[in-house]
Symmetry: C2
Subunit: 368 residues, 2 copies
């Protein structure tokens, strides 16, 4: 039997009922912005960042968490003595700021939330210092200040040997014309930016696979990659802030961008308006994903529906700025390529990968 | 033997080493604000909210968490069927916004972080809906929008039966003259605003006391109060946003304010500059605190060093606006009174309570 994300134990239905209740209640608070000189843009709920509109700027607010990736770092640390908490901190910041920039906001301030079950977690100075160093490094990569945080001991809530890593980011769009509004058009071109691995997404399933392997995280992944499974999983996430900033500075309008996280490539159709996103220029999935597909085993269809498959960020641009976008991404240091195009096919919403015979219809993605 | 907060199992030394490492690294990121048109005010690190200064406003950022109070709600819910998750949500928002307003910022946007160990936590619709309703209510009391959030399932990190509740708030000070700068002067008067009970602080110790009581949270607290221990603990925190807003609207300058949380009344000397804060007009501690003192037993000195003792918020004002401040607080619906005065005694920093023969010197509070 092949594995799927549902079978790894995360029940999205139960979570989604809560999310829907939150969104419904949250909407009733929108009028409170007025006294502060802000208002809520009509389409911001359900996007990756919450936006507030003033006369001459937008503020953006993101609260995000790492998920369970640090459990992988914990096992690898115990087994090999190799401490990946610098990478884990970068992951945590990346997951926030990569969400924030999807509206065109650049992060100004990042706060840490680090909740432990026992304060003894911090007695390992090597691990503690790696976490601090990684967090500061990631703030610098994001061009944002590390603006405080919260580090509670939650005995009886958080397991003694672990840590909950999360945080929040404040961003700003100024001038307002730099907002990424989602004005995608038929014929827009799709640019992909490479990921460094699974980044922060699908880790529950990855941990389940480790449990099945005789060598666990020490298994070499092969497929031309000399790293172990643990090392490959713990490669730190790419921070895409410089890509958005570079495009803004060069005057390249980004019609929409997607941070490819939970739901894998289905996230490419996050935009509410229906389009068909055809990925015609496929790169082979990086070694880690080939390893996961085989080790699960996981069907190819489930792989692209769950993992980023080597693609961490996508941008949709007008054909006349396609080359300029690729050039901006590359000069900012990203591995970027032209991946496909956007088509209007009446009310159909889908992500299609013709060379693999795969198609994901809109009803397979519920994020609003 | 009497109980103390340290004996309840929270080791501040281990935590503080981490906090100090964070603050040191965070300071190196301050120059990154410049490109966004902001700078870091010299004295913001170590205060309850992180501030960023622009030409015509300040932005404020807070990341905060509830602590372990929901464990009390969980036990009471199991024992009595009475669900206090509406109150727990209010507590979580209160702990953020009451920190935020200490710099004079009014909250604009509040994001939720709710991490569970199992998504099944949300199958209890009554509890889930109470949490959502309380959060929205608290945002409205804070005049802030509920701007999104994050609700991960962290199996293996968060215990299956519990939830980590936290979040972040964005605030703004505009015009800049409304900033609360900490310009306290010899002879300033101290105004206290009542709390509703322990609010969100000292709960680890409160839970330990419940374990010692034959009737646990069902114990009537007495001292003229008919509630049970559980009910009294779970009274929702007071949100002090309207007090600060009312003072701002009436043009009353607040020289400094303190959100009385961890470290109890020692928080009254949070300001870096040394002063002696003499609390001459004492109200008896509310019934819940008398109960705690007796049940612990806890020495009176430890009580005031740990709990808010009926005082959730303090403001330091010039004598000529003392009456105006009291009037502003009362018309905004708060129970407020004139509690004492601030004295300059060379380099001495202390909180003194002459009628109880108590004094806390500055070296007993390390929050920077």
């Amino acid at each position: 039997m092949s594995l799927s994300y549902e079978s790894s134990g995360v029940n999205y239905d139960q979570l989604d009922a809560f999310k829907r209740a939150c969104q419904k209640a949250a909407r009733t608070t929108a009028p409170l912005l007025e006294q502060h000189g802000y208002s809520e843009p009509a389409t911001t709920r359900g996007e990756s960042a919450y936006l507030m509109e003033a006369d001459d700027h937008f503020l953006a607010h993101v609260e995000e968490g790492l998920g369970t990736k640090n459990l992988v770092a914990d096992v690898v640390y115990k087994q090999t003595g190799k401490n990946f908490y610098r990478e884990i901190a970068i992951d945590t910041v990346a997951t926030m700021v990569n969400d924030l920039i999807t509206c065109g906001a650049l992060p100004i301030s990042i706060a840490m939330h680090a909740a432990v079950g026992e304060s003894a977690w911090f007695t390992d100075e090597k691990r503690m210092n790696s976490l601090v160093e990684g967090w500061a490094h990631a703030c610098k990569k994001s061009n944002a200040v590390w603006g405080g945080g919260e580090t509670p001991t939650l005995r009886g809530i958080v397991n003694a040997e672990t840590i909950v890593l999360a945080g929040s980011a404040i961003g700003k769009i100024s001038p307002k014309s730099l907002r990424i509004t989602g004005e995608v058009r038929d014929g827009d071109q799709i640019v992909f930016l490479a990921s460094s691995g699974v980044q922060t997404n699908g880790l529950t399933l990855c941990r389940k696979i480790a449990d099945q392997l005789p060598q666990g995280y020490q298994t070499p992944i092969g497929f031309g990659d000399t790293r172990t499974y643990g090392e490959a999983l713990l490669a730190p996430s790419v921070i895409y802030v410089e890509f958005v900033r570079e495009c803004q500075q060069r005057g390249i309008p980004l019609n929409y961008v997607a941070h490819v996280t939970g739901h894998g490539w289905r996230k490419l159709m996050r935009l509410e308006e229906p389009f068909v996103y055809e990925i015609a220029n496929m790169r082979p999935a990086p070694a880690l994903f080939q390893f996961l597909e085989k080790a699960g085993p996981i069907t190819t269809k489930e792989m692209y529906a769950t993992f980023n498959q080597g693609v961490g960020f996508a941008a949709y641009v007008s054909p006349d700025v396609l080359e300029a976008t690729l050039d901006a991404a590359r000069s900012a240091g990203y591995d970027a390529w032209h991946a496909g195009s956007v088509k209007k096919e009446s009310t159909r919403k889908a992500v299609t990968i013709p060379s693999l015979g795969l198609a994901y219809e809109g009803d397979t993605l519920q994020v609003r």
